[in-house]
Assembly symmetry: C2
Homo-oligomer: 233 residues x 2
């Protein structure tokens, strides 16, 4: 084992899966590890690369959820690479960190393979939870990337149900950014957006009905081009 590891490090994919709770607060999914290393500790869900099954490292990330939580990931995105000899007791390792967004209600978070607990945690309170390995840093990177994108006007529609009100979308953005947005400016921006489509449906409640919107065809969670010469990827 050791001799192999000298040439070929352990490669894993870890996923920071974000969702909104019933109060529309941002949450990140943690699992409690049932086995060593770091048994009993909370961590991001992740898997070791299996070259026989995984077409690429993103497939490893997606497989994590098929195996452990029976869940298909909608939007997955590379965020960071952490590597080194000391981050995992098993030796030199490299983790590709992914960020993903999901509707919380889509998830039946059930414990599974090598996992004996599942929790939707407050991402800002992560520091106090002493996560396994360097996963606190992973959460930090993923959260920063997510905030950056939303601050740059990407719409986190993957956090919302298929149809949603503009107020709900605003709450989602506020949850990500951690600060309130101005309603008028927010809606002004969306008025001219091609990423949103109004529907005929209206949400009714104990107040004025709100129009429901949905993502336009071909929607992707991307920030629009920068002021000058921004390049799409």
């Amino acid at each position: 084992m050791v001799s192999r590891r000298l040439l070929y490090p352990l490669v894993t994919a870890d996923v920071a899966l974000f969702g909104l709770d019933e109060r529309d607060a941002l949450r990140v999914l943690l699992v409690r590890r049932a086995e060593d290393p770091e048994a009993g500790r909370w961590a991001l869900p992740g898997s070791v690369l299996d070259p026989e099954r995984d077409a690429d490292i993103e497939a490893t990330a997606r497989r994590t959820f098929a195996d452990k939580l029976r869940l298909e990931l909608p939007h997955v995105e590379q965020v960071h690479v952490a590597s080194g000899a000391r981050r995992d007791p098993r030796g030199w390792s490299l983790s590709v960190v992914f960020a993903a967004l999901v509707r919380c209600d889509h998830v039946e978070a059930q414990a599974a393979l090598r996992i004996d607990g599942v929790d939707w945690a407050d991402p800002d309170g992560i520091a106090r939870r002493r996560l396994a390995f360097d996963h606190a840093s992973h959460v930090h990177h993923a959260l920063a990337a997510l905030r950056e994108k939303v601050a740059r006007r990407a719409l986190p529609l993957h956090l919302l149900p298929e149809r949603f009100t503009l107020s709900h979308l605003q709450r989602a953005c506020e949850a990500v950014l951690g600060e309130p947005l101005d309603k008028s400016a927010f809606r002004r921006r969306l008025k001219g957006s091609t990423e949103l489509e109004p529907t005929d449906a209206w949400e009714r409640g104990p107040q004025r009905p709100a129009q429901l919107f949905r993502a336009a065809k071909g929607f992707a969670f991307r920030a629009p081009a920068a002021p000058r010469g921004g390049e799409g990827d």
Copy 2:
């Protein structure tokens, strides 16, 4: 060999090193591979991870230049991860792509270990050069990341000599973006910037002298915060 590779993939760091040529056009450094796989083909410089020497994967990237080109990298940044069974004939592999900026004149590009040629290539003409492996895609990712940052108002000072004029900086930004910028707006932006410091020195030539500037202490190649709630990392 094969049995190892089933569990532990080949891990490499590839570097897209950008510089400006004597006409201030953007260039990316390519090397010609002297050995198989892909012998004779042009590629990005890169190295296989050596867990005994490399503290992390960025160290692998930096070592590439110490070994092959006797060059210290100033600014290095993760850009992308490419992975899969088919991108390298040796089997399942994972490459972390880094982008780096350097003053061209700092580089004596000399062929070295396993390299029999070195060239500063036009990054936009890369498609025609049929690079080794998936390195054309690497260049594309690195260039997109670089453009994105400069479009978002990060200053690519690492492309310039220690002291430079505002016109020179503008040419550097234009080279990265591939389009002209307005002089007045450009300078207006820099007037209030804390990233630049004027010096007492002036560049003289066959025209009006230009004031020389330098990077402020603690300068880093980062885009300023987004309009609302942008997070530093």
